[in-house]
């Protein structure tokens, strides 16, 4: 029997495979968000009676949500830094703060939704103008909110596994990439969805 020569292919782009997979997911997800934001832009531009329902309270709420989400990105970076120096408990605390930020963001988002629903906004109708507004608003912000909630669940699973030694700092870093991506998408959602539809 001949000897078996083990050949291992070097990781593409000199990064771990898991990290490359996350980058590829992020790129495909960016295109998905790009497509729905372009579709929104198409409708918004071609509709003459597009509603502008957001009062200053909604704009303030959107800014607070931005602060919460960007702050949670910062806490994720701190978690990764702590993990890099081997401080597992400290890394876990920072990562839990990230999850808390995500959950606070989700609560503020639901509060905003409930307020608009209370004013008569549904998927297909609203008291202000084109019925397309509700479909666009709920689908774009809903898809983003789904990403935030999914990120909270995934990061929680990684923290628990990280504390037990099942996952390492690279897993934390990979989910950090996802979290920053979700943060980045929000930076496009706010101006396009909220700020262009401010009531004056």
């Amino acid at each position: 029997m001949g000897s078996v020569v083990e050949t291992r292919e070097a990781p593409a782009f000199a990064i771990p495979h898991k990290k490359l997979v996350m980058w590829l997911f992020i790129i495909s997800d960016a295109v998905t968000f790009g497509a729905i934001l372009f579709a929104y832009g198409y409708l918004r531009n071609a509709t003459t009676d597009w509603p502008k329902p957001f009062e200053s309270a909604s704009v303030l709420n959107a800014y607070i949500m931005t602060v919460v989400l960007v702050t949670s990105s910062l806490t994720m970076l701190m978690a990764i830094r702590a993990a890099k120096t081997g401080e597992r408990p400290r890394a876990a605390v920072w990562a839990w703060l990230t999850v808390a930020g995500g959950l606070l963001f989700a609560l503020l988002h639901l509060k905003e939704w409930l307020g608009l629903i209370g004013q008569g906004l549904t998927l297909f109708a609203n008291p202000w103008g084109s019925g397309l507004f509700g479909a666009a608003f709920f689908s774009i912000t809903g898809l983003h909110l789904t990403h935030v909630v999914a990120g909270c669940v995934a990061i929680s699973v990684v923290i628990l596994g990280y504390k037990r030694g099942r996952y390492d700092r690279m897993d934390l870093k990979i989910w950090g990439l996802y979290w920053h991506f979700v943060d980045m998408i929000w930076m496009f959602v706010v101006p396009l969805m909220y700020l262009l539809n401010v009531k004056r």
Partner: protein
């Protein structure tokens, strides 16, 4: 082959980027309440959002410290796809200005 984890930036850098992103969000709100044409408003807000995204990708996602090949592999393809989506605008304006079709 050496596997790169990507170097993380210092806390100071993170804080500067954090403040810059939030400041840009504040500027976007000021633009939303300014009396300028809608098209100018869209371009200004999008330009600022792109700056925010670039800061997040470069410093928070550590693209700056990754191998250059990774960026060259990912970014041009994404930008190309997003750029190609711009072909919808002519139809969007047609709907706005050529309604009804008989004109």
């Amino acid at each position: 082959m050496e596997i790169s984890e990507g170097r993380s930036g210092g806390i100071g850098t993170y804080l500067v980027v954090y403040v810059a992103i939030l400041a840009i969000s504040g500027v976007q709100i000021l633009i939303a309440y300014s009396n300028i044409e809608a098209s100018h408003m869209v371009f200004r807000m999008l330009a600022l959002a792109i700056v925010q995204a670039a800061l997040a990708i470069t410093f928070f996602m550590h693209m700056k410290s990754e191998k250059r090949n990774l960026a060259l592999f990912l970014l041009p393809a994404t930008v190309f796809v997003l750029a190609m989506m711009n072909m919808i605008w002519s139809d969007s304006f047609r709907l706005l200005t050529m309604r009804p079709f008989s004109h």
